[in-house]
């Protein structure tokens, strides 16, 4: 198992519980983000559709607006143009941004706003010639302006959504391809490690048990031989003493060795 694809944790039961919780969170988060991404994409598509639609009508509306201005210029001569160009004071039309919340993403939305600023200079443009046409052109361009503000909102929404979707997708992908596998790997690792420990302990216990059993059997057999043979009994009692020594020494050394070994293992892990 490579070290890169999992968290560096002690393979303990507590850690396992923590990691498992994290994994659960990651999976739920993934599902939620996925849903959000879907919602955003849905909205995104709607915005795209609207943009395409508006941009197509925009061509028509602008064409009309331009043409009505041409009419005004035709009726009023060049002086109308200059009157307008030189008549700029304060903006009468401004846009106001408000925010709309789509799946936690704030999308700015523009509203046209008439500030009511007086346009005194422009008001009378073309009084002598073509004033009525100028007013028509103004209407046409105001209409175009309304459409353009909608388009601006949509486009801003598009850009914001685009950004938001990208971030969400990145998160989803990160959860899916990085965080979750890593956590899963960690869990797997901890479980494996715990199993290993368990097996080792079991084996050792078994080994000890087997030896004890063998020794006991041997002693019993020897006792039986002693019982059967007095001669043998003496030797047996001598030997039994010796065995006691051996058992004491071996048992003490075995337990100590085991402990040291386990600690060393953990050290290695960390």
């Amino acid at each position: 198992m490579s070290n890169q694809n999992r968290l560096q944790v002690a393979p303990t039961v507590t850690q396992l519980a923590v990691i498992k919780l994290r994994l659960q969170g990651a999976v739920r988060g993934h599902a939620l983000l996925k849903k959000k991404a879907d919602a955003l994409t849905l909205r995104h598509r709607a915005v795209l559709k609207a943009i395409v639609e508006r941009k197509t009508t925009l061509g028509e509306i602008m064409r009309e607006a331009h043409f009505s201005w041409t009419r005004a210029r035709h009726a009023g001569g060049e002086s109308v143009k200059h009157a307008v160009l030189d008549g700029v004071e304060r903006a009468k039309v401004r846009v106001r941004a408000s925010e709309e919340n789509v799946a936690g993403v704030k999308i700015p939305k523009f509203f046209l706003r008439d500030t009511g600023a007086e346009q005194r200079r422009m008001e009378l443009a073309g009084l002598g010639r073509g004033g009525a046409r100028v007013r028509e052109a103004r209407g046409a361009f105001e209409k175009a302006m309304t459409l353009l503000s909608e388009l601006a909102s949509l486009q801003t929404a598009f850009v914001t959504l685009d950004e938001a979707i990208r971030t969400t997708n990145r998160r989803v992908n990160a959860l899916e391809n990085y965080v979750t596998p890593r956590l899963q790997n960690t869990v797997k690792y901890i479980l494996g490690e715990l199993d290993e420990l368990e097996r080792e302990e079991f084996f050792r216990l078994k080994k000890v048990q087997a030896k004890k059993k063998r020794d006991v059997e041997q002693a019993e057999r020897e006792v039986a031989e002693i019982v059967a043979d007095d001669e043998a009994l003496r030797i047996a009692s001598e030997e039994l003493r010796a065995y006691d020594d051996v058992v004491r020494g071996e048992g003490g050394r075995g337990a100590g060795g085991n402990l040291i070994e386990t600690e060393q293992d953990e050290d290695l892990l960390f």
Partner: protein
């Protein structure tokens, strides 16, 4: 943000700009800065680029930038590079050239995303 709302800036040929000024978007602020640029025969690309940059990054009171397509083509790299949501840059047709959706930087992204059914 201004309590009255933000401005709409216009970059375009004389007639387009005049039309929008007529609609009332024109504004001259205290420092005599204009929120529109009339592009004539003698206007250089640099001037357009400067104005565009001013509207898109320097000035905070501009929320929407309208630019005619022909002029946008002249500073296409800047328009394409502009990716912020606000101010939003809108390409509009001018009087002589009909609207060409294919060269619109936003629309081309749109078409890319929709995968062909954008029209």
């Amino acid at each position: 943000m201004n309590e009255d709302g933000d401005l709409v800036a216009v970059i375009g040929d004389e007639d387009t700009v005049t039309g929008f000024l007529l609609a009332g978007v024109g504004h001259v602020d205290e420092r005599q800065r204009l929120n529109y640029l009339v592009v004539g025969e003698r206007t250089t690309d640099d001037e357009i680029a400067d104005a565009f940059k001013a509207f898109t990054s320097t000035r905070e009171d501009v929320a929407v930038v309208l630019i005619t397509q022909v002029i946008a083509d002249r500073i296409r790299h800047l328009v394409d590079a502009h990716s912020r949501a606000i101010p939003s840059v809108l390409e509009i047709p001018d009087k002589e050239n009909p609207y060409r959706p294919e060269s619109d930087s936003v629309l081309s992204r749109v078409r890319h995303l929709l995968g062909g059914d954008g029209t």
